[in-house]
Symmetry: C2
């Protein structure tokens, strides 16, 4: 059985939702970021990166949201969470998720995790100041060029949807006004109505 290591308000929610959508049997383990539990010896033994998410499977441990999402889609093919038999369509799904992890999430991380890339307090503050612009530019591109409707890839719900929904939770705190992004805003509302999404969120905040 799969065990998901997660922390509330992090990108682990994407894999949590995907496990629910897949109908997977899984358990969860909550990591307390306030106590920096992700850097405890026990957690570092699971994930030496000292982050979430991590997923313990019967074959071993997986990390990195895009890889975990594709794994969930491939492991539960009857849930149809990705176009598994079409390399081009699958690559489009993966390209979207790769953009989220390497560009949107990274832009967001400069608000709270600037210490990864600078030590000086003024530099960290300057990064934080630019977050609304940098994150906003990502969402503008998503809104204009990437997000189809009703789901990210169009008519078919995929592993792109829980990932975008998860990162979009942080938009207001990042200083980006959802009112200027009607497709992203509607996608978020649509996602929030899905039973799998409600269940995953309810579990994380129970």
């Amino acid at each position: 059985m799969i065990k998901l290591y997660y922390a509330p308000h992090t990108c682990s929610l994407a894999s949590h939702i995907a496990l629910e959508e897949a109908g997977a049997e899984y358990s969860t383990a909550r990591i307390d970021f306030a106590r920096e539990e992700q850097r405890s010896p026990d957690c570092l033994a699971i994930n030496p990166k000292g982050r979430v998410p991590a997923m313990v499977t019967e074959r071993g441990i997986l990390t990195e949201t895009p890889a975990m999402l594709a794994f969930i889609a491939q492991s539960f093919p009857r849930a149809h969470l990705a176009p598994l038999d079409d390399p081009f369509a699958f690559a489009q799904v993966q390209a979207f998720n790769s953009y989220l992890c390497s560009t949107l999430h990274v832009a967001h991380a400069h608000r709270m995790r600037g210490h990864r890339w600078a030590d000086d307090a003024a530099a960290i503050a300057e990064m934080r100041r630019k977050v609304p612009e940098a994150v906003g530019a990502c969402y503008d591109l998503i809104e204009r060029k990437m997000l189809k409707q009703p789901w990210v890839m169009g008519e078919t719900y995929t592993i792109c949807d829980p990932y975008l929904f998860t990162l979009a939770q942080w938009m207001e705190a990042d200083g980006v006004d959802p009112a200027r992004l009607p497709k992203v805003r509607d996608h978020r509302r649509r996602m929030s109505e899905r039973p799998a999404v409600r269940k995953a969120i309810a579990q994380e905040f129970a």
Copy 2:
């Protein structure tokens, strides 16, 4: 036929090598970063992100290195560039590549692309100052925990190998001493001897 949009000294080399390893028929189009050609209307029509790589296929355009590498592996299965029939092993490959794109490449980007996350010159200089430490921490993790031998995944060469090799080209300029990373250094040397790698590099610098 596939057409790869690339620029020398960028991560597009990873896909270039993978196309060679796959025995793919492909052509290349060089983007002149010195003239900011990636932001020209023609290039933005191919890739609205204004970056490389992009790959034009008969089905449409793909971007994002991890997605392109998986696409190449799936499109040319006889080249055995990824464990396509094993979702867990495939996820391990993808997790490695996701770490490269979202953490190692991002740490590196703070040396030359700090303007993405700050406007203030002092903040940009401070990010640049920390690059050896941030990039070095990624390589320490790769050396200690992630890189098997002789290839990233062990005995089998995969799409992880050209990607790590590509980013490792930047190590010295990032202020990281390869001497402290014997596995990464040996991997780079081993890669540099492969005919596909030599051919891709020769094409890019012709």
